[in-house]
Every structure is written in C-alpha cells, then in structure tokens.
C-alpha cells in the first residue's frame, strides 16, 4: 500500500471517530442508546460521502460502500421474500402447526390442498440449481411465462391498446363546430383556453399517427411516408427529451435528499 493511501485511511478513521463522539454527545442521552444512534448517523454519512467520492475517482471507500450495499440488499430481499411470501402467503394456507410456529394468523378460508401446487412448482423451479435436473425447471417457468402473458395480454390490450385508441378520438375542431366565423370569434388564447386545447389535441393525434408510421417496418421510409416517419422520430425525440429533463429533476431531488441528510441530521447546520 502506498504511503498516501495509508494517510488518507488514517484521516478518514480519525474523522469517523470524531464524528461519532461528537454526534453521540450531541444526541439527548435521555432517549437512550445514544452511542448507537451516534454511530448509525455517522456511518450513514460516511457511506453517503464514500459513494459520492466516486465522482472524483474510483477508490477503496467507494468499493467498500458498493459491496456493502450489494451484500445487504441481497440479504434483505432474501429475508423479505421468505417472510412475506412463504411465511405470510403460503404457510397459513398449508398447515396449522407451522402457522402457529411462525405466529401468523390462519386464513379465513381455511386450509386448502390446492395450495400445494405452488409448493411443488416452487421446488421444481429450484431444480435449476441441479446440473442434471436443470431441465425440470423449465416446466414451472413455462407456467409462469404462460400465465403472466395471458394475464397481462388482456390487461395491456384493454388499457394500453383499446383505451388508448379511444383516447385519440379527440375533438380537433372544438366541441361544437358552427362554421369558421363563430370559431374565430370564440377563440380563447389563455393556457386552458380552446385554442391551446385544440392544439394539444392535434399534437396527440399527429403524435400517435406519425409515431406509428415510424415503427412501421414493412415499407421503406420514402416520400410522404418518409416525411411522416421523420415527424414521428422528432416527436419521439421530444418525448425522450422531456423524459430526460424529468430524470434530471429526479436525480437532483435525490441529491437534495442526501445533502439535506448531511447538513441536517449529521452536521445539524439547518
């Protein structure tokens, strides 16, 4: 190890201990376990800074934080999966004694042998771990893929397809067309007015129309079709731009959350 690395390490350790001591003494002792809470706040701040240090360059602190995160989240999800799926959803339907052992309430509908089916399928799925019996896991997998596809197909077809088609049936000429004269005289230019509404309706219609043209693969994009496709890709790009802008906002919010933690909970500056 280089000397400079050792010095940095030592400084970080000293700062950590200092923060722990100061934080623990700042917390009210009457609430109890202030040494532990002081440690937790300091450790959280250390992890935040360790991850942020990646922006300068890759370093051991970042690697430590990353590996810790990966390990903890893997363990957390495993426990969560066991307690919420197996213990809470399955066991109360299978066995009274097991339900009593795990202290979960019995289901009102009572025990049902039907629920042994998912147990068997689950065990078959685990056969994936076996080098020779791996092929068996394809059967439950086929069941999962098949049922989800069937379930989602109807839902998506209705919500994302048919309802979306009917949503494009928007008034393009206003709610009541009485000729060009009344139309112009009733024109309202405010943000919630008729003109803006009509414009957005036109954008919806043209967006759907040209977007579909762009994703039409059976015809080369030339001539009028090419123009439609170009408008389509422009509209797609504007959508992605909006999405990107929103993402920037989201990421800044997360940064604000972290900095508020550092300045507020840890350093108590605000």
């Amino acid at each position: 190890m280089k000397k400079s690395t050792l010095i940095v390490m030592a400084v970080v350790v000293v700062l950590f201990l200092l923060s722990w001591v100061l934080k623990a003494s700042a917390l009210q002792p009457e609430q109890g376990s202030y040494i532990l809470r002081g440690f937790l706040v300091t450790f959280a701040a250390f992890l935040t800074l360790a991850v942020m240090s990646f922006l300068y360059q890759d370093n051991p602190f970042y690697k430590f934080a990353e590996h810790l995160f990966v390990g903890v989240s893997a363990a957390f999800w495993m426990c969560m999966g066991f307690w919420t799926t197996i213990v809470q959803n399955l066991i109360p339907r299978l066995s009274t004694s097991l339900a009593d052992y795990f202290m979960v309430p019995q289901r009102p509908e009572g025990l049902n042998l039907f629920f042994y089916t998912p147990v068997i399928l689950g065990i078959l799925l685990l056969m994936r771990l076996s080098p020779r019996g791996g092929w068996i896991s394809r059967w439950p997998l086929a069941f999962i893929v098949g049922t989800t596809a069937g379930l989602n197909f109807i839902r998506y077809l209705r919500s994302d397809f048919i309802k979306q088609i009917s949503s494009t049936f928007v008034p393009l000429l206003g709610t009541q067309w009485e000729g060009i004269g009344p139309f112009l005289s009733n024109l309202d230019l405010s943000a919630s007015g008729q003109l803006v509404l009509l414009l957005s309706n036109w954008v919806v219609f043209l967006g759907v129309f040209t977007g579909l043209i762009y994703f039409f693969f059976s015809k080369e994009h030339k001539g009028a079709f090419g123009v439609g496709s170009r408008v389509g890709i422009w509209i797609l790009m504007i959508t992605f731009g909006a999405s990107f802008g929103y993402t920037v906002m989201g990421r800044i919010s997360l940064l604000v959350g972290r900095i508020t933690f550092l300045f507020g909970t840890w350093l108590e500056l605000i």
Binding site: R107, K163, Q164, G250, I252, I259
Partner: protein, 330 residues
C-alpha cells in the same frame, strides 16, 4: 498584461464585490448572495473560457452542481408554485369528495425513491385526513411498509392527534405478490389482507364495514415510480374496477404516465415539482397548514439553481463543440 496582473485585478474585483454585498444586503442574505455570486461568477468564467474552445473537466461540473444544490439548502430560496392542471385535478378530486369518503393511498416506493415522492405522499395524506376522509394506507413494496409506518407516526399523524386508528385511517401494510395483490383486492380485500399491520382482523375494522374490494373505494392514489406502481394500479384496478385513480410518480416515469391522462388517471404529480405544486395548493386552501413543513417547496430552490447550472453547461458545451469544430476545420 502578465499572469500576475490578472490575479491582482481579480483580487481587487473580488474585494470590491464582497464589500458591495456586505454594504448592500442585510446580514441574513449574505449567504444566499455569496453562493449565487460564486455559481454565476464561475459560470461566466467558464463561458468565457469556452469561447477559446477550452474543455471543462467533468469534476468541475460535479462541483458546480454540488454548490448549486447545497447553497439553497443552507440559505433557503423559495418560489411560489402555481398548480398545473394535472396536479390541480388530484387536489380538486380530494377536495370535492364528500367528507367521510374512503381514499386508498398506496406507498409504492423504497428509501432510494423517497426524497422525491415522500413529500407528495405526506401532503396528500394530510389533505385527506384534514378533509375528513377515511384513509386506507398500504404498500406494494416490501421496503415501503417501513417507510409508511414511519411517516405515519413521525409526520402525517402528528397534526391529527384525535384521528383514531381503524376508524379514520388504517394501515394494512404490505403483501408480496406485486400485481397479483392488485388482481385480488380488486374483488376482495380480505383475501389478500386478512389483518392490518397491527394484526387486527379486517372485519373488525370499521372502515371496511362497507368496503369489500378496491372497487368500493372512492379514490385511489398510488405514489411510486417503479414496478409495481402507479401503472399497475391503472391496469389492474383503475380500468377493470372503474375506480378513479390518481398517481404521484418519481420524475423519471412521469412522461410515461401522461398517455393515461385524463381518461385513465385523473391527475399526475410528477416528481418534486408536482409535490411542490400540491403543497402550495394545500397551503393556499387551508390556513391550518400555513406552518406545515413543505419539503417539496423547499426542494424547488436547489432544483431551480441546479437546472440553471445544467442549462448553462449545455450552452457552454455546445459553444466548445462548435468552436472546436471550426478550429479543426481551419
């Protein structure tokens, strides 16, 4: 003029500016003004450099963002937020439901997403309780349940000491199964949630006296941004059960929710901006909430400054790119 002269000139200008600020502004504004000067001064300097096609190091950009975000947190800057139609729609829905209606709030997020969506979850919960609606809290995310219980006890219920668990609100917690959970509760709550988080059987909870399924709820608000989340609520409950659904989403997925508005979702709160607008509408309508903590509105200061910095860097980057291209051509 040599390098030394430049440094001297810079120092003199800096001293003059500092003196001017100290003289012109009251003491409590110094922090804000200095941090703004630092950010904008730096941006102008980089802009001037960019005219000579000098590239900016990545870390400089990170530093600017850090300052732009940190400064308004230390020295708060707030803006007024006029609610947009999509946010107002959710507000009006909750406002216009007769008092005593049942509202279901689903906290479908984890700690990583919380800074973005927690403010709106808190604001909407408070609005529902203040309006006298009966609120069913739940979560489709395992990590959401802890957040839900914590925010109920630490923030939301603090302002409502006389609300009774099981009568005015109930927390039925989390159940594993993602959209499968939704598929069941659209016809029967009790099958999926036999008890609430305190192990009280659902049939002993008064809110559920005339609520058998999610169809019987007057309004559903899903707050989240991942999978399962708002979109699944629309697909598996809102559309098939014909229930009004509103969504509060992390900014990343907000554009994907717009196609469902207004036919399938009645309103959208997108990211912190949506939360800030909602908080503003709430404060505007209820004097009770005048002193309410408004994290959404508070976050808009850092947001605005950070966005200005990012926009400036887009301009600077483009100038560098086109300058560089012209120089290469020559």
């Amino acid at each position: 003029m040599g390098k030394r002269h430049w440094i001297l000139l810079g120092a003199i200008v800096a001293v003059i500016i500092i003196a001017a600020v100290l003289w012109l502004f009251p003491k409590e504004r110094w922090g804000t003004v200095f941090s703004l000067l630092l950010v904008f001064g730096g941006l102008v300097a980089l802009l001037l450099r960019s005219l000579y096609a000098k590239e900016v190091e990545r870390r400089i950009i990170f530093l600017f963002i850090l300052v732009a975000v940190a400064a308004p947190i230390l020295f708060p800057i707030t803006f007024t937020e006029k609610p947009t139609a999509v946010v107002q729609a959710v507000f009006d829905k909750i406002e216009n439901l007769p008092s005593g209606s049942t509202v279901l709030l689903s906290f479908d997020f984890d700690p990583a997403m919380a800074p973005e969506v927690q403010p709106m979850a808190n604001a909407i919960s408070r609005h529902c309780l203040e309006k006298g609606h009966k609120v069913i809290f739940m979560s489709l995310w395992a990590t959401g349940q802890a957040l839900l219980s914590q925010s109920l006890s630490d923030y939301i219920l603090l302002g409502f000491p006389d609300k009774v668990d099981g009568v005015d609100y109930v927390n039925i917690g989390y159940k594993a199964g993602n959209e499968g959970v939704l598929n069941v509760i659209v016809s029967n709550f009790e099958k999926m949630f036999p008890t609430d988080v305190n192990s009280v059987p659902l049939k002993d909870i008064r809110i559920f006296d005339d609520i058998a399924s999610a169809k019987d709820v007057d309004f559903i608000m899903s707050i989240g941004g991942g999978m399962p989340g708002p979109k699944e609520w629309v697909l598996f409950v809102g559309d098939p059960g014909d229930v009004d659904v509103g969504v509060g989403v992390a900014a990343v997925v907000a554009p994907q929710m717009y196609p469902y508005y207004p036919a399938q979702v009645i309103g959208i709160l997108g990211g912190v901006k949506g939360a800030a607008e909602y908080e503003y509408a709430l404060k505007d309508a209820y004097p009770v909430f005048a002193d309410m903590d408004t994290p959404g509105l508070r976050m808009m200061g850092p947001q605005t400054l950070a966005h200005i910095v990012i926009l400036s860097f887009i301009v600077i980057g483009n100038i560098i790119y086109f300058r560089g291209r012209r120089e290469r051509k020559q």
